[in-house]
């Protein structure tokens, strides 16, 4: 198991190199100049700036400079906020913004998505074909509705209803617990629905399997049956969903942070892209990729933990 994790971690390096190379090329190939402003800068100032950021060098030399910095843990300097290091922008001291804020938002959303999805799927799967199957129908309709509505719709709508009309929660900002409620719920809703749907069909299949029949023949009560015998195998497809869910929540957070004015890296991503702040965009792409890679590794480890047949 330990050697497996080590081997997988070794595989992370080439993947990450490819990510850095491709995103570096794409960022630098975008048309326009990072220093282009409405009022043109004097040519000598522009030249000085380009020189300062190595932008006057051939692309491959720029890439080597960038790699060198990256290996030393330096994500470079912002092209927009001059003199500011990206490290400081993304990982500010005192955990007051940037990465730390987005991590909180994402972590809460994943936890809510997981717990919500599992609870809903149990109710849905266990009421199917019973007298209470309206519960299953209601949950299914809810899932369809939530999945087919993008968060660019649900996010402003929730602000309108719960902040502007009802005044239950603040319309935006960051800092208190009530600031968290709306963005976390809106961000996790589609994933609650996806997890519910996947886990529901998986739980229904497991509940019909011979070993559940054996457990029933032993006279076990329904809660014990589900908790001890059915839930673990039924969770296998949900675990494999964790990778895509993390990726989706990361991209979703870009929209959410903008709507709820949360000072996370999602908002920095949008600003970085519009400002052609090469180093900022690159740094965030690398961080996002690293998160996705780490979570995919985590999925495989959780698999081995859940399924006794999987041993690395």
């Amino acid at each position: 198991m330990f050697s497996y994790i080590l081997r997988r971690l070794g595989g992370v390096i080439p993947t990450l190199f490819a990510v850095v190379l491709i995103s570096f090329l794409m960022v630098h190939m975008t048309p326009g100049d990072p220093f282009a402003t409405e009022r043109a800068l004097p040519p000598e100032v522009l030249k000085q700036l380009h020189h300062q950021y190595h932008l006057d060098l051939p692309l491959w030399q720029q890439f080597l400079y960038y790699l060198d910095d990256l290996i030393h843990g330096n994500l470079g300097y912002s092209l927009k906020y001059q003199g500011q290091s990206i490290n400081h922008l993304v990982f500010p001291t005192g955990s007051q913004g940037g990465f730390w804020v987005s991590v909180q938002l994402g972590t809460f959303s994943i936890i809510i998505a997981g717990i919500g999805g599992i609870i809903l799927d149990i109710f849905s799967a266990l009421t199917k074909d019973t007298l209470a199957d309206f519960i299953d129908h209601v949950i299914s309709v809810f899932c369809m509705l939530v999945i087919s509505t993008p968060i660019v719709v649900t996010a402003p709508l929730s602000v309108l209803v719960f902040a502007v009309f009802l005044h239950w929660f603040p319309a935006g900002g960051w800092g208190t617990l009530s600031d968290l409620v709306l963005p976390v719920i809106i961000l996790s809703l589609p994933y609650i629905a996806v997890i519910t749907q996947i886990a529901r069909s998986s739980l229904i299949e497991i509940m019909g399997s011979p070993f559940i029949r054996t457990a029933k023949a032993k006279g076990l009560s329904m809660p014990r049956l589900v908790w001890r015998h059915a839930l673990k195998p039924a969770m296998m497809p949900v675990v494999s969903l964790l990778g895509p869910t993390v990726a989706g929540i990361l991209t979703g957070s870009v929209v959410i942070e903008r709507v709820f004015t949360i000072p996370g890296i999602g908002i920095q991503m949008v600003q970085g892209a519009t400002n052609r702040d090469y180093n900022l965009v690159l740094a965030l792409v690398i961080i996002y990729s690293l998160l996705v890679i780490v979570f995919n590794l985590l999925v495989d480890i959780i698999y081995a933990f859940l399924d006794p047949k999987i041993r690395y």
């Binding site: 011979p210 054996t214 457990a215 076990l220 014990r224 399924d307 047949k309």
Partner: protein
Amino acid sequence: MSLLEVNNLNVRFKTNDGLVHAINHVSFSLDKAETLGVVGESGSGKSQTVLALMGLSANNALVSGSAKLDGKELIGIPTKELNQIRGNEISMIFQDPMTSLNPYVTIETQLCEPMMVHQHSTKAQARRHAIDMLDAVRIPDIANRIKLYPHELSGGMQQRVMVAMALMCKPRLLIADEPTTALDVTVQAQLLKLLQELQDEFKMATILITHDIAVVAGACDRVMVMYAGTTVESAQIHDLFANHYHPYTSGLMTATPRVDSAQTKLQEITGEPPDLSHLPAGCAFSPRCPRATDICSQQHPVLEDMHDQNLHYVACFHARETDNKETLNS
């Protein structure tokens, strides 16, 4: 009084193609420590009969009739009450141990569960008893194996674990649904022998379901032959092998290979079992029966005592006429 009394049991399945009549008017009884063999081909309702007793019929099943264990009704009672009986007073062993044990749970946990649930014993007590039971089903090297997952054991060993699990609460009735079908032949013989020994040791009644009439011959006191969800013949084992009256029973006998005869070609029963959603008006076996006459396709034969002192019951209009063996073999 007999231990188990099944009266007019019916199981129907609601499907999109209409009602499927899986079990029709099945009645039988079982004494304490008696072994009843239930034989019949696939789809004859052997398994559905016992699943109905255990309350394990599928969601779309309509179960009616009565089944009483020591006078206590089993059919139609709430799951909560049923849960106090199954796994405790009635236990069941299933066909395929590879899929019937939970692959995600250690055998220790699976073994301890019935005792912890029914007798509220502690994990330590249950574990001690589980080790005794694994010893009783002759699993070697128990101490090192109890923490294993099912897939780490062979099929035969898994089925022994199933047996041990079924015996945890000393049931009065053990139902074994084709316990040896998924195992290879040498293991089959060992397991059947083990079941018989355990039955003597624990003084429990057994229902042994099989499609192999040879298995029944070695292991049972009484035999019930089922066809298309009905009982066609029921008798003491020796009596059945000496005189069988129903043409289907005869067919089963001649379709079984024998080592001691020079017969080289097996006699098959021609035709297919009937569609359970469109049963024939009369005797369900009549379309395949070599002796069928007009009455067979018009009326249902009822189970009748053949009056030979051995409680030999047959459901056939032509049971008394001639010896079926001769007509079929000629």
